[in-house]
Symmetry: C2
Amino acid sequence: MARNVEFDEELAISRAMDVFWKKGYNGTKMRDLTEAMGINSSSLYNSIGDKHELFIRCIKHYTESRMAAATKQLGRIKSPLKALEKFIQSSVYAITNEPNSCLAIKTTFEIAASDEKVQKVIKADNKFTYNLLIDLVNKAIEKKEITVSQDAEMLTDYIMNHFSGWHESFIIHQDKARIKKMADFLLAQISK
Amino acid sequence: MARNVEFDEELAISRAMDVFWKKGYNGTKMRDLTEAMGINSSSLYNSIGDKHELFIRCIKHYTESRMAAATKQLGRIKSPLKALEKFIQSSVYAITNEPNSCLAIKTTFEIAASDEKVQKVIKADNKFTYNLLIDLVNKAIEKKEITVSQDAEMLTDYIMNHFSGWHESFIIHQDKARIKKMADFLLAQISK
DNA sequence: ATTATTTTGAAACATATGTTACAGAATAGT
DNA sequence: ACTATTCTGTAACATATGTTTCAAAATAAT
């Protein structure tokens, strides 16, 4: 028996996410957010909550979108090693072509250590990727597509942990070729 | 013909560094800094400058200390591969025992992409480590201690780029064993 | 059409924040 | 001891910042 929300909440979250992505949590001001979202702060507080709650929504949006994309992309690939390759190559593409480095990694280094709620979202995202990859690694080991190590857990960690270094490298050098060479070497290492 | 500065500037910088290290650039307030440094803002502005200049001094202090420590530690080791091992093991120790993750990496992800002066310091630090390591890698390749690849530049990048992933992992899981296993695997990979 | 309820916009609020002003204290060189 | 100069502490300043207030607008259900 009353008025409905006027703005598209998902679109607004996505716009806010872009601001946080570029400026970080502490670097983003409420006025940056309301301007980008195209709504007034009273509407924001009324429908979503304060800055921190909005940030949580934004990083959830970010991580959930990535999860959906990864699941979709890897689903149809039969060879587990080929799927791993695809995942790594997609990461390289994102790292070297997106305007900002990964929001999850930036958030991890900026505030995850001191913000429990944020850490929970980051952990969930990490766990998802870990589960996705360890499944592939296990299958690849079974099929003898991977023989470099039998320790699937370590190997999954090992693979995953390359991405933030690649982001770091790209922030510093903006050199796509360097990232590609490292990725090729990683792939060569695990493909034997 | 006048009064001298009362406080120990290097000590004050070191105290300020600890605050930035823990809270990040945007998360640190001037009053956090003056309190930790034990001086008031007029002395700070009078002797060092504004927040940004102080930050530059702090990250320079951080990176220069690390450079000195690395040079000192690796100088006496004869085998280049052993020196690489030592560097990696020292990094693992720092990552899993220091109260905050690397200030240079945190800074890279927080503001290096949008702050030229900061980026310059970060680049210099990166270049120093790169030069230190590529020298070892080249010598190790010459001595046939490393045979996994002949591309010293790529291999140096490859080794260096593990550290931020290990930091990320430790922030998320606080599990020393996971970092150690990855480091051991990396060492096994390059030691053949 | 009325009503009860919710959303929205403009403005304001309380506090935080980076920085400066200035008077007095301190001191290196004379 | 004097003096010119610099440093220090207190307080304040101007603006930024996260959040709230409240009246008016909108609308779903009756």
